[in-house]
Symmetry: C2
Subunit: 405 residues, 2 copies
């Protein structure tokens, strides 16, 4: 008998039929003898609709009120799932994040979990009741309702699995697991049976949409066994674990891509200590999420600094850097929204020096120009033209023989 | 400077424009120097939509989960109103029923308030913040979320006004006050400047749709000054008070009607002690809401008992009485869904013996047959044919000269 925390994403509870499907699945797990704790996201596009409504009503949208508004979505889905379970004779009770014991800081719209006190959840499990917990929410130390942010339900599930000492945390979603690359781009993309936390973290950081990166970090830190799987086919998905025995063989495990970034270049920057620090401090002060940073070799005492940032922050980024230009004596600022990041990820890369060369040769042979390069111990990212990104993914998936498993 | 509790109904916050309208009004009240505490209902038809969704998903719909689901509607509206206030520079913060200190019993879907501990609301008011409280909700002694039932926002507002010692409780709605009769039926219907608690109670019990009867009872018990008024025209509405100086003059204050009832007759009932008790105990056991009861004079040791009940409970009522028929030795059960109750209400009636005669004569002159009669100290109700109800209201409004004020 295992204790399982099962999280269901928005599309998995998108309509009454899907909600009943989730209830059926949970009833089956119970018949098999497992104890189940559910974490539920808002139905379908409900979070988007609530955000749109807020934009219709208000210009200021204070965070505290946004959190009160948005967390209602998960709460509604929870109550409906608990009803559907009850219909099947499975005792169930919904809990808000606050009732489930999620204590957070007061950073509205993006609250951090400080502590989980799952007394009521444990009590319910002990009484044979399936607790159905609202995802992505908690209560702040000021007793206000908080929202953990988009993708926060994954984080709720992992934190709860840890707090309860669950045997596994199953993230049910609309994909059937973690793939070697986006199956929409490469038809031979293969579902991975296992992936390591570190690999999955690099993948989610570079374009793999699920699960939410933050939940993977948390699962790694607390060693929570994650299982990413489908709420549509119910087949086994991908296990995420600390130690992957198959890892020695795979040099490169996956190819990811991300079209959502833009590039900003500050040119003619005096090559003096502290200049880069001033640029990136100022950007950080404006909450701009800089990813790759490349500084060219200095020529005649001046250099160029390029960096990537989310495309929707580009306008702010340009304004910030333009303002700084005079202060630091730079000569120009140019931007490019039409870039993509293409990455290869693999725990085996660190001990295989030829991987980078193979990546560059493969892209070159396909006529794809590399504009920026960034490396980590288990990842290699190239910035290419946006319209060449899918081709880059296809040739890399082929070159590293990822379809062969 | 007055402390006002202002409750806004569903249509008053039905869309973004209306929500901004409410915020404008509150900002005006604040500029005038008043302190305001808001109680907000769910937007427009949201509660109906949530109920429909629950019916789509589940057959059993446990009360605890229904309450979790439905109270989300008020919560959403609250957050949006708080945002709109913030846009106008008015500091505001939304509170769930639980956060506002509403402790209730655990009767889900129809919880009763046990206690209001409005510490956080008082704190907010003291800090110059407008608290925006979710209507019709609280937290049970079992720490579960509870719903006070339809119309529960009025009750929330009255209870909060009492707990805060507010100067008045303003119920903003889509009508501009309490009328001498339904203005859709009688075009000369007149808005009453004042009405007594007792009169308003009798009116809401016999067809006047607003405010919710339960809130009027509570306001009477705690002597909370009620002001029923419009969220559309913002004009002064009707004050509901204990003592109405104008009352000495008005014999009849209002005419109400209610088409929602049906009539059930048990005939050939042996005229023995305890028979009626058995019938109505059994009906009460099935939660059937009996209103008028008439027992005919006994003839040959048998009698007929007729009573009215909500039309949507008629089928259950027939089944219950049919089951009892053998036990009590009654000969027949007949039912009639096409009845209406027409009532005249007035605190001056008790000392004016001619009122009943005038009512009967007026109906008779209009060719309207009276099927049942019920009286209270300040009300007189006749059951008539449903298709004659509006005509009855018109002639009675005329006969008692209610258009003259």
């Amino acid at each position: 008998m295992a204790l399982l925390v099962q999280k269901f994403g928005g599309t998995s509870v998108g309509d009454p039929d899907r909600i009943r499907g989730v209830a059926d699945h949970v009833a089956r797990c119970r018949r098999r003898g497992d104890q189940v704790v559910l974490v539920i996201s808002a139905m379908g596009k409900e979070t988007d609709e609530l955000l749109r409504l807020a934009v219709d009503v208000s210009k200021t949208r204070p965070g505290r009120e946004m959190d009160m508004l948005i967390t209602g979505g998960e709460r509604k889905a929870c109550a409906l799932v608990a009803m559907a379970l009850n219909d099947l004779g499975v005792p169930a009770a919904s809990f808000t994040g606050s009732q489930a014991g999620f204590i957070t800081d007061a950073t509205h719209m993006n609250a951090k979990i400080l502590e989980v006190k799952p007394d009521r959840i444990r009590e319910a499990v002990d009484q044979g009741i399936v607790p159905v917990v609202g995802g992505a929410q908690g209560v702040s130390i000021d007793r206000d309702i908080t929202f953990l942010g988009r993708g926060g339900s994954d984080t709720t599930a992992v934190a709860l699995a840890h707090a309860l000492g669950a045997d596994a945390c199953e993230l049910y979603t609309d994909v059937s697991g973690v793939f070697t690359t986006d199956p929409r781009v490469v038809s031979e993309a293969r579902k991975m049976l296992t992936v390591s936390f570190d690999e999955l973290l690099e993948m989610t950081a570079t374009g793999c949409p699920k699960p939410a990166m933050r939940s993977v970090e948390l699962a790694r830190n607390y060693d929570v066994k994650l299982h990413v799987r489908s709420a549509f086919t119910w087949e086994p998905g991908t296990w995420v674990t600390k130690e992957d025995p198959a890892m020695e063989h795979a040099i490169v495990s996956a190819v990811t891509h991300d079209m959502g970034d833009a590039k900003l270049t500050v040119s003619g920057v005096p090559d003096r200590p502290g200049i880069a620090a001033r640029i990136f401090r100022r950007l950080a002060d404006h909450d701009i999420n800089v990813d790759m940073i490349v500084q060219n070799v200095s020529a005649a005492g001046v250099t160029d600094i390029s960096f990537t940032l989310p495309a929707d922050q580009l306008a702010t980024g340009i304004a910030v850097v333009d303002e700084l230009r005079g202060e630091i004596g730079a000569t120009g600022v140019t931007s490019d929204p039409n870039i993509a990041r293409v990455s290869i990820v693999g725990a085996g890369m660190k001990s295989n020096p030829g991987v980078a060369a193979t990546m560059f040769e493969t892209l070159s042979a396909a006529g794809i120009n590399i504009e920026m390069i960034q490396t980590s111990a288990i990842r290699l990212t190239c910035v290419v033209r946006e319209d060449q990104a899918e081709r880059a993914v296809q040739v890399l998936h082929q070159a590293f023989e990822l379809h062969k498993g």
